[in-house]
C-alpha cells in the first residue's frame, strides 16, 4: 500500500508515518500544496491523507487537481475543521472520508484500510487472517470453515484489532472506534473489557488461536 500524507504539522506527520510504516503501509509525506501537486501528478497512490489548512493554500485545491487530472485515488481528509460545510465541500470535491483531529492513529489506519478495500478490491470482500475469514459484505465470520456467531460490535472490534495487528490499542481508542459519532458521550471505557472478553471466548470456542493479548494497564494487542 502506497500512501501520500499531506500535512504541515511536522510532529503529527512523523507520528502518522511511524505508525503506518509498521503496518505494511508505505507512506510518503509532504507539507505543502505545491509539493503535493507535484507528487500526485507524478505518482499513483492507493490513498491520500489530506490536511485542509496548509501553509501555501487550501487542501481543497488538491482535491480539485485530482478531479481535473482524472485521478482515482481515495482521499481521507484529516482536519481540525469539523464544520458541516467543510465536510460537505470536501465530499463534493471527491473526498472519500473525513477524520477530525485529534484522532487515534489506529482509527486512521482502519479508515485507510477500509477505503482501499472499497476502492481496489471491490470484487474481493473477504479478509483472511490465518484461520479467521471475514466476509465484509455479508458481515459473517468463519473459523476453520465453521461459522462463528458474532454481534455487530464484536465483529467491528475484531476488524479493528486485525487492522491494527501487532499494535497496542488503548481502551480509549477501541471505545471511540466502537462508539462512532457518540464517542464523546462515553462515561467510561469499561464496556470495552466486556466486549473483548466475549470476543476472546467466542474465538476460542471456535478453535481459533488466542491472538488478543492484554497489555497490562495499557490496552490490548492483536498478535500472532
Amino acid at each position: 500500500m502506497k500512501i501520500l500524507l499531506i500535512e504541515d504539522e511536522q510532529e503529527l506527520s512523523l507520528s502518522i508515518l511511524q505508525y503506518l510504516n509498521g503496518n505494511g503501509v508505505l507512506c510518503e509525506a509532504v507539507n505543502n500544496v505545491l509539493e503535493a501537486l507535484e507528487k500526485i501528478t507524478m505518482y499513483q497512490y492507493d490513498c491520500i491523507l489530506l490536511d485542509l489548512s496548509l501553509p501555501d493554500g487550501d487542501g481543497f485545491e488538491i482535491l480539485k487537481a485530482l478531479k481535473t487530472q482524472g485521478k482515482e485515488e481515495g482521499v481521507i481528509i484529516i482536519s481540525a475543521k469539523s464544520s458541516l460545510d467543510t465536510r460537505i465541500e470536501g465530499f463534493n470535491l471527491g473526498a472519500d472520508d473525513f477524520l477530525v483531529k485529534p484522532f487515534h492513529l489506529s482509527e486512521l489506519l482502519v479508515r485507510i484500510q477500509a477505503l482501499i478495500r472499497r476502492k481496489q478490491f471491490s470484487g474481493n470482500t473477504n479478509l483472511i487472517f490465518n484461520e479467521i475469514e471475514i466476509n465484509l459484505l455479508s458481515k459473517s465470520i468463519t473459523i476453520n470453515q465453521s461459522k462463528v456467531d458474532l454481534t455487530k460490535t464484536e465483529l467491528d472490534l475484531l476488524l479493528f484489532l486485525i487492522g491494527n495487528k501487532n499494535k497496542v490499542l488503548s481502551k480509549g481508542a477501541i471505545a471511540e472506534h466502537l462508539s462512532g459519532d457518540m464517542a464523546d458521550m462515553l462515561e467510561n471505557h469499561d464496556f470495552v473489557y466486556a466486549h473483548i472478553k466475549n470476543l476472546k471466548r467466542k474465538l476460542k470456542q471456535s478453535g481459533s488461536e488466542d491472538y488478543i493479548k492484554t497489555i497490562y494497564g495499557l490496552g490490548y494487542k492483536f498478535q500472532e
Binding site: 458541516l84 485529534p102 492513529l105 480509549g172 458521550m185 462515561e187 469499561d190 473489557y193 497489555i215 494497564g217
Partner: protein, 421 residues
C-alpha cells in the same frame, strides 16, 4: 410601592390641587363674607346718614309710630340710648319667611326733639348666604374642571413625551447579547431621550463587541488547541507501542492518556458551545423525538450494564420537533450521560416522554443540587467529579436556542431534568 412615572406626576398634581383647594376654600369663603359684610355695613351707614340728613331734621316724636309701621327694618326705638354707633350680626325672626334668619344690624343714637332715641336698621343676610353658596359651587366646579383638565392633559402629554422612553425600555428588555437583531433607536425631538438612546446604544454596541471578541477568542482558542492535542494523542499512541515500557511507566502513560481524552472532550464541548453561540450551521428539520431517544437509550444501555445501572424506557408518546437534530442529540446525550455519571450502583435512569415533555431522572447519592449555578459553565457541585462542567451549559444553550424550557427538580431521592417543548 412602585408606580408608573405618569401616575407619580399625576398623583403629585392631584395632591397639590386638593391641598390648594382646602387652603383656598376657607380663605375665599371668609374673604367673600367679609367683603359682603363690609358692603352691608356701608349700606347701613349710608342709609343712616341719609336718614339723619334728609329725614331727621323735620322728624317729630309723634311721627315715630307711623315711621315704625312703614319701616319694619328700620325701627326707631326709645330704648336705653347708646353712645356710639354699633353694627353687629344677629339672628332674628323673619315675619316674611316665618323662620329665624341672619341679619346685620345697626344701632345708632339719635336725638329727636332733644330726646335720645335709638335708630335701628337691619339687612337680611340670606341673600349673602345664597351668594356665598353659589360662589362656592362655582369655585368647586372650577377646581374640578381644572383637575380633570390637568389629568387629561398630563396623561396625553406624558404618554406622547414618554413614548420614546418606553420604547427604549422595551428594546432593552428584549435585548439579548447573543441574538440578532441589534437594537435600533429612533431619534426623538427630546434632547434628553436622544442622549439616553445614544448612551444605551453605545453601551450595547460596546458590550456586543466585547462579547463577540470573547466568543471569537474562545472559538479560536478551541480551534488552535486541536492541533497540539492531535500531536499529543498521536505521540501517546506511539508511546504505548514501545516494548521497553516498564509497568510504572505504563501506569503514568495510562493516566496521561485518560487526561488527554478529558482535554479533548472538553475542547470538543467548547467548540460545540462556540458553534451554538455563533448561531451557525443550524439547519432545522422535523424528526421524531421518540426515535432519537430510543437510539440514545440503546447506546447508553451498553455503558449502563457495566456500571450496573438500569435504564428504563417510559416513552409513551411521540413528539415531532422542528430543530437541529445533531444538537438535540447532544442535548439528550448530555442529560443521559450526567444521569449515568452521578448515579449509584444498582441505580436507575428513567426516561419519560409524555405530554410534550421529556424527563430524565436518576438515582444518586447526592442531595439536591443548588439551582442558581446549575447551568453555568464550569460549575460543579462536587469537586471530585470527572465531568468537565460544560455538559449542562451546553444543554441550557441548546434548550434556549430552540425556545424550549428546562427545569430541575429533586424529589424522592431522584434528580429530574425535564425539557418542555
Amino acid at each position: 410601592m412602585r408606580k408608573k412615572l405618569l401616575h407619580k406626576t399625576q398623583q403629585i398634581y392631584i395632591i397639590y390641587s386638593i391641598i390648594t383647594f382646602l387652603i383656598i376654600s376657607p380663605i375665599f369663603y371668609f374673604t367673600t363674607e367679609k367683603l359682603y359684610l363690609d358692603d352691608t355695613d356701608e349700606t347701613l351707614m349710608l342709609n343712616k346718614e341719609r336718614f339723619e340728613k334728609q329725614i331727621l331734621p323735620g322728624f317729630k316724636i309723634k311721627d315715630i309710630s307711623t315711621w315704625n309701621t312703614y319701616n319694619p327694618e328700620n325701627l326707631i326705638l326709645d330704648k336705653i340710648p347708646i353712645k356710639k354707633d354699633s353694627i353687629f350680626s344677629t339672628i332674628d325672626f323673619s315675619e316674611l319667611e316665618q323662620e329665624d334668619e341672619p341679619y346685620r344690624m345697626l344701632f345708632s343714637p339719635i336725638k329727636i326733639e332733644g330726646q335720645p332715641y335709638l335708630y335701628t336698621e337691619k339687612i337680611n343676610l340670606v341673600e349673602a348666604e345664597d351668594l356665598l353658596f353659589s360662589i362656592a359651587i362655582l369655585f368647586i366646579t372650577l377646581i374640578i374642571l381644572l383637575m380633570i383638565g390637568v389629568f387629561i392633559i398630563t396623561n396625553r402629554i406624558s404618554k406622547k413625551i414618554w413614548k420614546p422612553f418606553y420604547e427604549l425600555i422595551h428594546q432593552i428588555e428584549e435585548f439579548e447579547i447573543d441574538k440578532d437583531p441589534k437594537p435600533h433607536f429612533k431619534t426623538t425631538t427630546i434632547e434628553e431621550f436622544n442622549r439616553l438612546n445614544e448612551a444605551v446604544e453605545k453601551l450595547m454596541r460596546k458590550n456586543i463587541k466585547i462579547y463577540n471578541n470573547q466568543r471569537e477568542f474562545i472559538d479560536n482558542a478551541a480551534h488552535e488547541l486541536q492541533t497540539p492535542l492531535a500531536i499529543f494523542r498521536s505521540k501517546i499512541d506511539l508511546l504505548i507501542q514501545r516494548d521497553d515500557l516498564t509497568h510504572g511507566q505504563a501506569a503514568i502513560v495510562v493516566t496521561i492518556n485518560e487526561n488527554i481524552d478529558r482535554l479533548i472532550k472538553l475542547n470538543k464541548n467548547l467548540l460545540i458551545l462556540s458553534k451554538i453561540d455563533r448561531n451557525i450551521e443550524l439547519e432545522v428539520e422535523k424528526f421524531s423525538l421518540k426515535l432519537l431517544l430510543e437510539k440514545q437509550i440503546e447506546f447508553f444501555s451498553g455503558q449502563a450494564n457495566t456500571k450496573q445501572i438500569q435504564i428504563k424506557n417510559r416513552i409513551s408518546d411521540d413528539v415531532i420537533v422542528n430543530a437541529n437534530k445533531n444538537l438535540t442529540e447532544i442535548l439528550f446525550s448530555n442529560l443521559l450521560l450526567n444521569a449515568m455519571k452521578y448515579n449509584v450502583k444498582n441505580g436507575t435512569v428513567i426516561i419519560e416522554l409524555d405530554n410534550g415533555k421529556v424527563s430524565v431522572s436518576n438515582t444518586s447519592d447526592q442531595t439536591k443540587i443548588p439551582k442558581d449555578k446549575l447551568f453555568n459553565r464550569f460549575s460543579k457541585s462536587n469537586q471530585n467529579q470527572q465531568g468537565n462542567g460544560l455538559g449542562l451549559a451546553i444543554v441550557k444553550k441548546i434548550v434556549d436556542q430552540n425556545n424550549w424550557e428546562i427545569t430541575y427538580n429533586y424529589s424522592k431521592n431522584r434528580h429530574f431534568f425535564t425539557v418542555t417543548f
